[in-house]
């Protein structure tokens, strides 16, 4: 029961390519309204929205394994749930076999639910502790009234348990989730997911809560189930290594958008988006010959309620260009990072040039007027900023921030910094690869998408 033949080689991947479109998402958006403060609650006005999924187009073919990969907060789970109607889309459509499921109510979705199943991340939390395995695994049969009598019910449950390797089934039927190990629970969860004969399974981090030695077993089981039951998978994960092995197609997500989308082999062999490149370089590998890169992207994934302008990745991107969406917030980050590295006295001295650095923290400022600190003139501030730019032009690696600054001048007692107008990168196809990428650096020459 050790290594089984590599599924990808055995032609299953190719079968996925020729399959018909099973699920098609177009212009899909899921925005969650924020409740806001007390006043907002009284006036009924939302304080803003978290754009969990922000304009997604994708096509899932029958038999395909699609990986949705990204960090926490990238919207991958929300997208996975929306694709099977578990979360309501706020705009756009999801078509399952041509039928728009975003328009359906709960009653309309019911019959589809048995064809569209979900496996959740935490097997300990997705089984009712008071329900024995017989009841839990067979639950979908009752809900969808798929069996005529108890005998058939029992037979179907036994069959499902056998399929997921919980053998002999009699040993597990009467057990409660508390009696099972993590791997066994996830097997039971998979049995419940397949018992109603679904067509599509969305698996949300199905192995991340499991011990290392069990992960490979559960992945192998999922591959076996796919082969035996002709399933299509959406595999939601932050783990690139398992996605590389498991998926035919991969969509790298960042802050609600897909930044790179294409055949897995192609994406891994030749990552196009700087974010994909960074993710791949950051995976610690048990290979002593391979070290982490010296330069990692700075910071963390930003707040989706206040996304950066332009390309959402630009504040962390080492190769960002002029049009990537530079704004006042980036200047604040730059200054804070500089002051962190200076001696405290020097940092305090430089800080005193500014009346209020926090005023730069407002989002969406493409032009910012900086008030100089007490006893300083706008010229002092400008001179300081020019000095920083000069310094940066000689340092390696080049600080991309300054590429976005188009002008710095004094105006009515303020130092005004103007940034290049932001442009949203759109997914565009890289010829001959089948990979789509949303990055200004990879846009076809002469393209003028969006302003």
């Amino acid at each position: 029961m050790l290594t089984k033949p590599d599924i990808e080689e055995s032609g299953e991947g190719a079968a996925g390519d020729v399959g018909e479109a099973l699920v098609e998402a177009s212009g899909l958006e899921v925005h969650f309204g924020l409740r806001g403060g007390l006043l907002g609650r009284f006036s009924g006005r939302a304080a803003g929205a978290v754009r969990a999924v922000d304009g997604i187009d994708l096509t899932l073919r029958k038999g395909e394994v699609l990986g949705l990969v990204g960090e926490s907060g990238s919207g991958k789970t929300t997208l996975g749930r929306t694709l099977i109607g578990l979360t309501k889309a706020t705009a756009g459509t999801v078509r399952y076999r041509g039928q728009d499921i975003t328009a359906l109510g709960e009653r309309g979705l019911r019959p589809l639910r048995r064809r569209l199943q979900m496996v959740f991340q935490d097997p300990h939390a997705s089984l009712n502790p008071a329900m024995d395995i017989r009841t839990a695994v067979g639950h979908p049969l009752r809900i969808h009234q798929l069996v005529a009598d108890e005998q058939e019910y029992e037979a179907r449950v036994v069959d499902a348990l056998e399929r997921v390797g919980l053998t002999p089934p009699e040993r597990y039927l009467g057990k409660f989730p508390g009696d099972l190990s993590g791997g066994q629970k996830q097997r039971a969860v998979l049995a419940r997911a397949i018992i109603a004969e679904p067509e599509l399974l969305v698996a949300d981090e199905p192995i991340s809560m499991l011990d290392m030695s069990v992960r490979a077993k559960i992945l192998q089981l999922m591959l076996d189930l796919k082969r035996d039951l002709d399933l299509t998978y959406v595999y939601v994960t932050h783990d690139l290594a398992s996605a590389k092995f498991f998926c035919d197609t991969i969509a790298i997500m960042y802050l609600g958008r897909i930044v790179e989308y294409g055949p897995t082999a192609e994406v891994f062999a030749n990552p196009q988006h700087p974010y994909t490149e960074a993710l791949l370089a950051a995976i610690p590998e048990p290979d002593p010959e391979r070290a982490l890169p010296r330069e990692l992207p700075r910071g963390e994934i930003p707040d989706a309620a206040r996304p950066p302008m332009g390309c959402a990745f630009h504040p962390r991107c080492p190769v960002a260009v002029e049009a990537c969406g530079w704004e006042a917030r980036d200047l604040r980050t730059l200054l804070e990072n500089r002051w962190l590295e200076l001696a405290p006295e020097a940092a305090t001295r430089e800080k005193s040039l500014f009346a209020d650095v926090e005023s730069l923290a407002v989002d969406g400022l493409s032009t910012v007027a900086i008030a100089p600190g007490r006893g300083h003139s706008p010229e002092d501030v400008l001179e300081y900023l020019r000095h920083l730019r000069e310094e940066a032009s000689q340092a390696e690696p080049r600080e991309p921030f300054w590429r976005g600054v188009v002008s710095m001048h004094a105006e009515s007692g303020r130092a005004v910094v103007e940034f290049a107008p932001p442009r949203d990168p759109r997914l565009s196809l890289i010829p001959a690869t089948g990979v789509q990428v949303a990055c200004h650096l990879r846009e076809p020459v002469g393209s003028t998408t969006g302003t």
């Binding site: 791997g183 011990d211 030695s213 077993k217 092995f245 995976i283 002593p288 963390e300 405290p344």
Partner: protein
């Protein structure tokens, strides 16, 4: 060679249960030198965390601890932490011993500002430290972790996961301990943030003389951040040595299987170790790994393997290497002891972790 900061000799930590003692750590020996990072790896339930706690004297009162944990202060004489009164150990925590927990989300008090966390830690261990000094030391530690001064008065919820973990590390470092245990410090973090934290930990040994025991189930992290590695199985250390050497030429079958079953970017086929780590109330006779071992011999099921120091300096506790190093040892396995061990029973999902 410099003297180790920490020498652990034959450490045992047993928990009492209704069915008998759980031998979570059962005779473990290792050294940590100044500025060195030792990675502790193994599956869940192999005793990694218990070992980490045992070294720091943080085992629950009901646990029995036996053996030696000798901590040497620079220039000072060593003292055995096992059996030391709780009060004495408490005094060593902070200035000598530090712990970085997993799940940074839950380890900071949500009702306390970051400044208060630092004040509390510094006051507890350095009575009468002036306020200015507390702030200066806290800010220096935070700056080292890339947290700007302006966030000193913020509450934990205002920080992201990665920042919280960096604050936790700063909190451990502000007391300048000579020795730190980091228990799965990156488990709850994203790939890029995890890489940032690994870098910080890797830089620790360069910038400070802090010695670190890094407990993790992620072999990639060990390869990245550790000088040496100890592989734990069922309460024993089965292999330890230079991290590069162990990963390049794993000796113990458990290390080999663990490396093979890790899903990495170079994975082309799925491989896994059948079964799961044994119940530590009744661990298997002989070599504890023999029921899952692909190269087990008959003798492995009855006689415990000796530790063998290989020419590379790697120590492995496996009969295969022992007999290779000294063929005379084969006699200990008895007649027919070197015959391959026929699979005693089919290991099924029933035993899965």
């Amino acid at each position: 060679m410099t003297e180790p900061v920490l020498s652990v000799r034959d450490l045992r930590v047993w928990y009492g249960t209704d069915r008998g003692p759980v031998r979570a750590v059962d005779g473990v020996t290792f050294d940590v030198r100044p500025g060195e990072t030792l990675g502790l790896v193994g599956e869940s339930g192999c005793g990694k965390s218990t070992l980490g706690r045992g070294v720091l004297g943080l085992t629950p009162p009901a646990a029995a601890v036996d053996g030696e944990v000798v901590l040497r202060s620079p220039g000072g004489a060593g003292r055995n932490l096992v059996g030391l009164p709780a009060k004495e150990i408490q005094r060593l925590r902070g200035p000598e011993l530090g712990l970085i927990f997993q799940e940074p989300m839950t380890r900071l008090n949500p009702l306390m500002r970051i400044s208060q966390h630092f004040e509390e830690a510094l006051r507890a261990h350095h009575k009468g430290l002036p306020k200015q000094e507390i702030k200066a030391r806290a800010l220096a530690a935070l700056r080292g972790m890339g947290i700007p001064e302006s966030r000193y008065g913020s509450y934990p919820h205002e920080f992201s996961g990665g920042m919280r973990q960096r604050i936790m590390i700063a909190l451990a470092l502000v007391l300048r301990p000579a020795f730190i245990v980091a228990d799965e410090p990156t488990t709850a973090l994203d790939v890029l943030v995890e890489a940032q934290i690994i870098k910080i930990l890797a830089d620790l040994r360069k910038n400070f003389d802090t010695s670190l025991v890094l407990i993790t189930h992620n072999l990639g992290i060990v390869a990245e951040a550790c000088d040496r590695v100890a592989v734990m199985y069922a309460g024993h250390i089965v292999e330890q040595g230079d991290a590069r050497e162990v990963f390049a030429n794993p000796q113990h079958p458990y290390t080999r299987e663990l490396l093979r079953s890790t899903i990495s970017l170079s994975t082309t086929g799925l491989h896994f170790i059948p079964g799961s780590p044994p119940d530590l109330v009744e661990p298997p006779q002989g070599c504890r790994f023999h029921p899952r071992c692909p190269v087990a011999m008959r003798g492995c099921a009855t006689v415990e393997p000796p530790e063998v120091v290989l020419p590379t300096g790697v120590v492995s506790a496996c009969w295969q290497q022992a007999i290779e190093a000294d063929p005379a040892l084969a006699d200990e396995l008895g007649p027919g002891g070197r015959e391959p061990l026929a699979a005693v029973k089919e290991i099924s999902v029933a035993d899965e972790a």
